[in-house]
């Protein structure tokens, strides 16, 4: 499979979830396990550009596909992705545990809807649970990210 633009391979029993595979086999520990039953969204990644809960996929299902995790948003030594930049600027994270999942969901949202209003942001992000921020600054972060992306004219 391709993960963050790189060919990766590994071994897994069929029952191993994609989330566990990413973390344990590929060492990509930015994707977090919050519930392991598909409700909290902490494990959200992109599969072929579309958001998916990696705890609800088996690793074997990802074979041949293109995955993006939080580590793929920005080069390790490079500048932050505008969405990451926005979350920090607007205090959209506190403990940071749910953040990677949010970033991937926001990535998809802004690719589809470059200028979402507050109601749409909250609706689209209702599948990601945060216990720290109360969502207020997450919404601000998404608005700011949208601004940065529109300003940069960058394709997401």
């Amino acid at each position: 499979m391709r993960v963050n633009g790189e060919e990766r391979r590994g071994v897994a029993q069929p029952r191993v979830t994609l989330a566990d595979f990413l973390r344990d086999e590929l060492g990509l520990t930015g994707t977090h396990l919050g519930c392991e039953h598909g409700v909290c969204g902490a494990c959200t990644i992109l599969v072929d550009g579309r958001s998916a809960r990696s705890c609800l996929m088996l690793a074997v299902q990802a074979e041949g596909h293109e995955l993006t995790t939080v580590e793929g948003l920005a080069p390790a030594d490079g500048p932050l992705h505008p969405i990451q930049e926005a979350f920090s600027a607007k205090h959209g994270l506190q403990c940071g545990f749910c953040t990677p999942g949010f970033l991937m969901s926001v990535h998809e949202l802004l690719a589809e809807v470059p200028d979402p209003d507050e109601a749409e942001i909250r609706r689209r992000l209702s599948g990601n649970i945060c216990r720290c921020t109360g969502y207020h600054n997450i919404v601000e972060s998404v608005r700011y990210a949208a601004e940065l992306l529109r300003g940069a004219g960058a394709a997401v």
Partner: protein, 795 residues
């Protein structure tokens, strides 16, 4: 080059957080993120019964499973792993107990159940295998048979004659009790023009940080050194427990807590000692990661209180006396002494001048998961009872709820004000700072309360049920006994702070750096804050109870001041100048008004040990300062919250339209961080008010075992949260700081319940239990209408 005098302080600035850099990249280090070579994985067998004798546990089937290395039961641990001795109980002094007519009985608990399992989820056996998948398979191969015993499903059941006594040595199921009060309450009630009495119930709740718990341990047999990594905001406490329970010297145990995905409360659990034991026993690193099913069953359960509250008042809504008797369902062990229950009692009267009062609290043992102090820790329950009662007083006297509050509020001139009872730390409880009336007015104005009341009349005419609710609280913050900091300057001019506090989202790496930078006189960019490692600082208490900004902040600030003195003293020797004439500026120490300067590298050299040092007489080598701050007692933060809700009368669904707070947390180190704490607290409170309950059935089986049943609010259920600030500086630390981590979560249940009831005014709908489910709203409206009909609408 700017000098300290001309630069704006870092404290008070909305600085971006240092911790973000790694967290937004997914490069944080949470315990399960780093493997150790040869590491094994544990899984725990848990009791499926609320109350059962463990007849037989045969692990041979598990040992035969692929990948399994070991399996242990309670009997294997007997004599080898001690029981948890509750530290909170030891903190309650005999003097305090006497003053409050209190008893706290010991309920030490075993790491694995010995003969009897006392709640669903109680740990019974552990399997260690090559990976978690294999370990869970092996759990299924354990043959366990139980003799189910009668569950004790709640405090009423626990107190009934003939109820099973869960800890026979205690004689009954009351683990703790106390009474506080002042004044002749009987007389006041007897002569009062009006009285009311209600039962207010606060459902059980669980903290639900997004990261579940995990414990990882490794034992260096050669050195006899045990290292434990875990998600716990009290690393030094864990070290003490592990050392005692495993019989290791304190200095042989190192506890490291890396990034933590939230905490929202404290707790010590079996696994905290069990996993280190396994690492020692098996001579290999062992990791255990709690899954969410376990977490919902066992971790940081909280609240679960019932208050029978009475108020005596006059026709003008002035409270003459208060009487409260309340029960806390603490679950199967009372691991926290009277922390939560005494908090509830201490904070019950809130911002109001109610000096004739009697409060009695009982901690009752039941066959549920043991509770911990969780965000608010007794205050939400107490505030709910009082604020609901005040709205009932308002309705009874024909007053606006805001007016009732105005009439009873402690005026600013009376602060500092003794409150007629000790605080939990044994000191006299005194509101040291605050201006409650101004806070209320600020909140009402920011909300446009009068405008909304007018609008409410129009909406009512249109058939819309929109309600407004008020709640306020006080919070004793910055609990002691101490917190420490070590501040060290290196030759390159970089500063490293080590503290015993353990942040888990509240931005201490940034806020403590801000205070250090100001007090030392360096750029905040230069300061790094390390925490969560007992190897780096000898004593620590940890982060909980809204204490770290106060205690760690003060410790850092004072240590930084002392280090500054030292730096300037050494520079003074080098420059042959009076330290009072010197300033820190960038990488140098300069003589004010002159061109003479010396670099920090030179200062560091001069301060280094060795024959060539150039230290003032009597000064120890090294550019480091340490300070443990001991707060005299808690310092009182406070807040006023306003909620507006709309209720769908046909379905009972409640939408929170608007939420506004004004919070006084004294000097704000970083207003952005403060707002985040409050907004997060409010969301937590909205969950508590409307959605979240750890629900047990009559057999004490947990019904809310998944996230389909335990409902955490999402971005749709939480509105934007408007945060206003009031700054009444603390008198109890040099920096005026008060805590703000919990306040946001304290008032929402009361504010929202009041708002829902208000939506039906003038009908007298009562909502005296949280969480408020839609069905309960319909039932409350039905009940109010039936009551009104019965009384012939005479009111």
């Amino acid at each position: 080059m700017t000098t300290v005098e001309t630069r704006e302080p870092f404290v008070g600035r909305r600085l971006r957080r240092k911790e973000d850099a790694r967290l937004v990249r997914g490069a944080g280090w949470f315990v399960p993120d780093r493997k150790l070579p040869g590491m094994l994985h544990a899984a725990i067998l848990r009791s499926p019964f609320a109350h059962a004798r463990i007849e037989r546990l045969d692990v041979s089937g598990a040992l035969a499973c692929e990948g399994v290395v070991a399996a242990f039961t309670g009997s294997d641990l007997a004599g080898r792993v001690g029981r948890f001795q509750e530290s909170a109980r030891k903190e309650v002094t005999p003097q305090l107990l006497e003053a409050i007519d209190g008893t706290v009985k010991p309920t030490p608990f075993p790491v694995l159940a010995d003969e009897v399992a006392l709640w669903v989820g109680a740990p019974v056996a552990v399997v260690v295998a090559s990976d978690r998948y294999a370990a869970e398979d092996a759990l299924e191969a354990i043959e366990a048979s139980y003799e189910p015993l009668e569950p004790v499903a709640g405090p009423e059941a626990a107190l009934r004659d003939g109820a099973p006594v869960l800890h026979p040595e205690l004689g009954d199921n009351v683990a703790a009790r106390f009474r506080v009060g002042s004044g002749d309450v009987e007389a006041a009630f007897a002569s009062a023009p009006r009285t009311l009495r209600r039962r207010f119930a606060f459902g059980r709740h669980s903290a639900n940080s997004m990261e579940t718990r995990s414990v990882q341990a490794s034992y260096d047999e050669g050195r006899g050194e045990l290292t434990v990594w875990l998600t716990n905001a009290r690393p030094h406490l864990i070290r003490t427990h592990v050392s005692e329970m495993l019989g290791l010297p304190l200095e042989s145990v190192r506890v490291v807590v890396p990034d933590m995905g939230g905490s929202f409360g404290t707790g010590v659990y079996s696994e905290d000692a069990l996993i280190p034991f396994l690492a020692m026993e098996l001579r290999r690193p062992v990791r255990w990661v709690e899954d969410r099913q376990e977490n919902l069953a066992i971790t940081r359960h909280a609240r679960d209180q019932v208050h029978d509250l009475e108020l005596a008042y006059d026709d003008d809504g002035r409270i003459l006396a208060l009487r409260d008797r309340f029960l806390v369902d603490v679950g199967a062990y009372n691991a926290y002494a009277i922390t939560v229950s005494y908090n509830a009692a201490a904070h019950l009267r809130g911002q109001y001048a109610i000096d004739c009062f009697s409060i009695e609290g009982l901690n009752v043992l039941t066959t549920k998961a043991p509770v911990s102090p969780v965000r608010g820790a007794g205050r939400p329950e107490a505030v709910f009872a009082l604020d609901r009662a005040l709205d009932l007083v308002a309705a009874d006297c024909g007053l606006d709820p805001a007016d009732v509050r105005r009439r009873n509020m402690i005026p600013a001139e009376e602060i500092p004000r003794p409150m007629g009872m000790p605080y939990r730390d044994g000191a006299e409880m005194v509101y040291d700072s605050g201006d409650f009336p101004a806070q209320l007015e600020q909140a009402l104005e920011a909300f446009d309360y009068d405008g909304w009341r007018e609008q409410q009349t129009l909406w009512r005419a249109q058939g819309r049920r929109v309600g407004i609710g008020i709640s306020s609280y006080v919070e004793g913050s910055g609990f002691g006994p101490h917190e420490g900091a070590v501040v060290r300057l290196d030759p390159a001019g970089n500063v490293r702070v080590v503290t015993g506090a353990k942040p888990h989202g509240q931005g201490l790496e940034t806020t403590l750096a801000q205070i250090c930078a100001d007090e030392l006189g360096v750029d905040v960019e230069r300061v790094t804050v390390a925490s969560g490692d007992t190897g780096l600082i000898q004593y620590g208490i940890g982060t909980f109870a809204s204490r770290s900004a106060v205690t760690a902040g003060s410790a850092v600030g004072i240590a930084a001041r002392r280090l500054r003195e030292k730096v300037l003293a050494v520079a003074g020797v080098l420059l042959d100048a009076d330290p009072d004439e010197l300033d820190l500026a960038g990488d140098e120490v300069v003589v004010r008004g002159e061109a003479r300067a010396v670099s920090l590298a030179e200062v560091a050299h001069a301060a280094a040990p060795g024959p060539r040092n150039r230290l003032p007489a009597g000064m120890e080598p090294g550019l480091e300062a340490q300070y443990y701050f001991q707060p005299p007692t808690v310092t009182f933060a406070s807040g006023t919250h306003l909620a507006a809700v709309e209720v769908d009368e046909e379905t009972g669904f409640v939408e929170v339209l608007r939420y506004l707070t004004v919070d006084d947390c004294g000097r704000m180190l970083n207003p952005m961080v403060v707002e985040g704490q409050i907004q997060g607290g409010v969301a937590h409170g909205i969950g508590t008010a409307l959605y979240e309950e750890s629900l047990y059935d009559e057999d004490c089986q947990l019904l809310s075992g998944t996230y389909m049943d335990y409902l955490l609010p999402s971005a749709v259920e939480v509105p934007p949260i408007e945060v206003g600030h009031q700054q009444c500086l603390s008198e109890l630390n040099p920096f005026g700081i008060k805590g703000c981590g919990e306040g946001g979560a304290v008032s929402p249940p009361a504010a929202i319940a009041n708002a829902v009831a208000d939506a039906f005014r003038p009908e007298r709908v009562e909502l005296n239990r949280v969480p408020i489910r839609p069905e309960a709203v319909l039932e409350a409206v039905r009940a109010a209408r039936a009551r009104d009909q019965e009384e012939g609408g005479a009111r």
